[in-house]
């Protein structure tokens, strides 16, 4: 229960962090890869600068939402010196909680305004 409140206290997540956790849920990434993936997912709208990117990574490491991974996928493909990160169980619950929060918001808007069909 205490854990639940601490998760709620971390919300809402800053958008870059939400995207980073989301991307990491799909697998391990290194910093630069995360940046490119987010750029792609947001159609070039969210272009994280390096300082901000690694600042967020550092914070998530401190919070225990992500951790450094020892495994190197496809070492022949990648530079061995790169650090890879993976999401932790806590990180997963955080990003879920944020998604639920957003869902509630969207539902609320839908019920109040009615939204035009996306399709």
């Amino acid at each position: 229960m205490a854990k639940e409140t601490s998760i709620q206290a971390s919300l809402p997540l800053p958008l870059p962090i939400f995207h980073m956790l989301l991307a990491l849920s799909e697998g391990e990434r290194h910093g630069y890869a995360l940046k490119r993936e987010i750029l792609q997912r947001t159609n070039g709208k969210l272009n994280l600068a390096s300082g901000a990117l690694y600042g967020s990574i550092s914070r998530m490491l401190d919070q225990g939402w992500i951790e450094e991974s020892d495994e190197r996928p496809d070492t022949h493909l990648d530079d061995e010196r790169r650090r890879y990160y993976r999401i932790t169980a806590l990180g997963r619950r955080i990003v879920q909680a944020e998604a639920i929060r957003l869902q509630h918001l969207v539902r609320l808007a839908e019920n109040t305004l009615g939204l035009p069909d996306l399709a």
């Binding site: 290194h30 910093g31 630069y32 940046k35 600068a49 390096s50 300082g51 901000a52 690694y54 600042g55 990574i57 550092s58 914070r59 010196r81 790169r82 650090r83």
Partner: protein
């Protein structure tokens, strides 16, 4: 590598250590990649702009984040060692605070600029050299303006006078000046005008500028004061202006009159007093050059080089006064204490870090770099120093309050305060220096050894640290010896002061000052002596009668020069009928004076009511005077003659009275005459009461005022309060030095204790081995004592040398201080005994040491 990349690499170094280590490399690589991908020049420019904006935003954020982490960590570390931390904090706070407090005195008196236009060009001129008569306005101003090195000069003479206005009487400090006094200083009035040219000529000089304080308190700040008439010593003056707030030059002055060349305000008959000359040097002439020209002028005018060492004195030096050396001595002592406190904090930091070596080495092994650990340790010492600085400001405020009591400043603008940019910068600089010297330096040292020994996690304490600890201990010992010796010297001379036989008693006596100048009780000495009436006598008779009627009063007397009130002087000269002569101070007293002060009449009798105007002139002389003029035979019944006056018959010999306990020389030579035969125009009424005299002060003051509201009553205090006041300065110095010494000793002892217990903790295994192979615990203890006392002894040697050097300076604090080798030895003895005791106690745990457990400890 292109320039932007190299530049970026430099900027990355601005990130805090932890972040830089973790992410510096990927940041750099990513920059390199993206810069390459950007392709065209405009795209690259946009990319660069974004990259640097990103750095500008994230570097401060990361610094703040790591700082907060380090702070939290530091707080945990300090909480674990709360006792030692509190001690170090108190040490630093007291030391920084006391230094800052003393510095604020130095600042107020020596550094703060004076409230005058270009004050550096103002000098005091001992004497204007001229063929003209400089005691006249024309002669003075002509001489001043034709001086080769002065732009102009003004003259002033401080006085205490009676002021009557608004049907009230006050006794105030005034200054008689030349008309250009304010214009020379460059002071504009707050209201009205200052003196006009020509206004210092007799007949035109009945005007006055009053101080802002007097205007507010006495006239309620009424602008209608301009043009009003006040009476000074009975002479009516028109108020033409009000001086600006806080202007009170030449010192505590309430009003100024342009009467320095006129003697209208002085007691009738006095036409002798000279003004002090203050000059403004011409622009471009330095004090040395001006002095050269001035001296040449003095010599050319026939002055003797040896007899008249005339010298221009910068106004600032004169205002700094005798406190100058004392402040510097005190500042020096206080800095010594700060040094020892710093050493202690360094000690704390050292022992703490060596205890934390395991933890730090572990972190180092996990990849934390030296920079990162140093950052952590530096933050810890910065926190400590900063907290100490804040607490120190409170201590500084308190010090300043004490100093203001003991060393009052001459001018209002010299008031001591810590709320001054120089003082605050001093405190800040001092704290920064403290933090750097004894926080960052050891921290970086530790950082270095940590990386070197990262793999030998639990080896013995490295040599560097051990040596540093020994040096710190030695410095502590040296400083403690210097301060202890100083405090013993000052303490013993102060005790001597306290136990001094003054020749009278200070308890049960109240004193009240009155001045009859300018009132109807002032004798007109211009009237020939044969037909002169002594107008003061009726006042004294009424006043004494009135006070005698107050319940609880045992005896009352009036005296014109009371010990502890008036400065001793030897202005009078007396010749015994045997032809022997000598200087003495003449004191006029009423009967019962000696009884009121419990001062003994050794031989003969006291004055009586029968000794009055017209009866045989009599005198009572002090024992010193009697010895001086007649070493062998009693002077009782002989005649003694003051210069240019009639002979007096000696009817009594009184015990010597010490007028100023701080001055040894010729304070005790008095010739008393009856008030009824030679009344003083100002006097102190002394009242001996049953019980606490402080309780009587209000009723005594009111009763005395009722005798005649025209006569100001001032200085209403007990004699004991006056004694305390005159001993305030030595008491302050002694207390301060004693406090510092005790503090230094305590710190040194704690330092020794800490060092030894730490070294035992480090060497547990070695000690265990020694005991296991047969060494007795007592022998091991003795060995540790020997080893630890070595730095203490070395420091002590330096301390003894330092104490000898300090001894000479102590006389700036108390004139009677006599430094002696014995006190230094005593100080060294005290220190070594306490240090040895501390070390012995610290080694006590060896007795309880189980050798097998000690061996297993590894």
């Amino acid at each position: 590598m292109p320039v932007p990349s190299r530049f970026y690499r430099v900027l990355i170094k601005l990130y805090p250590a932890r972040f830089r280590e973790e992410f510096g490399e990927p940041l750099e690589r990513q920059f390199w990649d993206e810069y390459g991908q950007a392709g065209s020049a405009p795209a690259r420019a946009i990319f660069l702009l974004r990259a640097f904006a990103d750095l500008a935003a994230t570097i401060p954020a990361e610094i703040l984040r790591e700082l907060l982490q380090d702070l939290r960590y530091a707080a945990r570390v300090y909480r674990r060692r709360a006792f030692v931390t509190t001690l170090a904090l108190a040490a630093l706070a007291l030391a920084i605070g006391a230094s800052t407090g003393v510095f604020s005195v130095v600042n107020a008196r020596l550094l703060r600029s004076l409230p005058f236009r270009s004050p550096a060009r103002l000098v005091l001129v001992p004497q204007l050299i001229s063929s003209l008569n400089t005691a006249t306005p024309v002669g003075f101003h002509t001489t001043a303006q034709s001086s080769p090195f002065l732009e102009d000069a003004a003259s002033y003479r401080p006085q205490q006078m009676n002021l009557n206005a608004n049907r009230r009487a006050l006794h105030v400090q005034i200054a008689e000046t030349s008309q250009n006094f304010f214009s020379l200083l460059g002071t504009a009035p707050a209201l009205g005008r200052t003196f006009a040219p020509g206004e210092d000529v007799e007949g035109r000089d009945r005007v006055t500028v009053i101080s802002y304080g007097l205007w507010q308190q006495f006239f309620g700040g009424d602008p209608g004061i301009l043009g009003a008439t006040i009476r000074l010593q009975g002479v009516p003056l028109t108020v033409v202006g009000v001086a600006p707030p806080a202007f009170d030059f030449p010192g505590n002055t309430s009003l100024w009159t342009p009467t320095v060349f006129d003697f209208a305000l002085l007691p009738a008959g006095e036409k002798m007093v000279r003004g002090t000359v203050i000059g403004r040097m011409k622009p471009g002439i330095g004090i040395a050059a001006a002095n050269r020209i001035y001296r040449e002028g003095v010599l050319a005018a026939g002055g003797n080089r040896r007899l008249e060492p005339f010298r221009l004195e910068p106004l600032r030096d004169q205002l700094a006064g005798p406190v100058r050396q004392a402040s510097f001595v005190l500042l020096g002592l206080v800095m010594l204490v700060l040094l020892i406190a710093c050493a202690n904090v360094a000690q704390l930091l050292l022992s703490r870090t060596s205890e934390r070596r395991t933890e730090l080495t572990l972190r180092a092994a996990l990849g934390a770099s030296r920079a990162r650990l140093v950052q952590q340790l530096a933050t810890e010492s910065a926190v400590l120093t900063l907290a100490a600085a804040c607490a120190g400001l409170a201590v500084a405020r308190w010090t300043v309050q004490l100093a203001a009591l003991a060393l009052p400043a001459q001018l209002a603008t010299q008031a001591y305060t810590i709320l001054d940019w120089r003082v605050l910068s001093f405190a800040l600089g001092l704290s920064a220096l403290t933090g750097v010297l004894f926080g960052v330096v050891p921290a970086s040292l530790i950082g270095r050894f940590l990386v070197d020994d990262a793999l030998r996690a639990r080896g013995p304490t490295p040599r560097g640290i051990r040596r540093m600890r020994a040096v710190v201990l030695a410095v502590q010992a040296a400083v403690a010896v210097v301060l202890l010796a100083g405090s013993l010297t000052l303490g013993s001379s102060f005790l001597k002061l306290l136990n001094m036989d003054l020749g009278y008693r200070v308890d049960h006596v109240a004193t009240l000052g009155i001045s009859l100048f300018g009132t109807r009780y002032e004798t007109d000495y211009r009237v020939p002596q044969t037909v002169r009436t002594l107008r003061e006598l009726p006042y004294y008779r009424q006043a004494l009668d009135r006070l005698r009627a107050v319940p609880g009063v045992e005896s009352v007397a009036a005296v014109d020069f009371l010990p502890l009130v008036n400065d001793p002087h030897l202005g009078d000269h007396f010749t015994l009928d045997s032809g022997q002569d000598g200087p003495a101070m003449q004191v006029a007293a009423t009967p019962d004076y000696f009884r009121t002060l419990s001062a003994g009449i050794v031989e003969g009798r006291d004055f009586t009511e029968a000794d009055r105007q017209g009866s045989e002139p009599v005198a009572i002389v002090s024992q010193s005077f009697a010895r001086q003029v007649s070493p062998d035979a009693s002077v009782l019944g002989h005649k003694v003659t003051p210069d240019q006056d009639q002979p007096l018959t000696i009817v009594g010999i009184a015990a010597d009275a010490r007028y100023d306990p701080l001055r040894k020389q010729f304070a005790d030579v008095q010739v008393y005459t009856p008030m009824a035969q030679s009344p003083g125009t100002a006097a102190t009424i002394t009242v001996c009461v049953k019980g606490n005299p402080e309780a009587y002060l209000p009723i005594l003051r009111d009763s005395l005022r009722q005798v005649d509201p025209e006569v100001p009553v001032y200085g209403v205090m007990t004699l004991n309060q006056r004694l305390r006041e005159s001993l305030a300065r030595p008491r302050f110095y002694t207390t301060a030095v004693l406090f510092f010494a005790g503090f230094a000793l305590l710190l040194a002892v704690i330092g020794a204790y800490g060092a030894v217990s730490h070294s035992i903790a480090q060497r547990t295994q070695e000690i265990g081995v020694r005991i296991a192979v047969g060494a007795s615990p007592r022998g091991v203890r003795a060995m540790l004592l020997r080893q630890s006392m070595l730095p203490v002894a070395a420091g002590m040697l330096f301390g003894i040398a330092g104490a000898a050097a300090l001894g000479r300076f102590l006389q700036h604090l108390i004139l009677t201080a006599e430094p002696a080798g014995t006190t230094t030895c005593a100080a060294a003895l005290v220190l070594s005994a306490t240090a040895a005791a501390a070390i012995w106690i610290a080694t006590g745990r060896i007795l309880r040491l189980d050798p097998t457990a000690a061996l297993r400890a590894e």
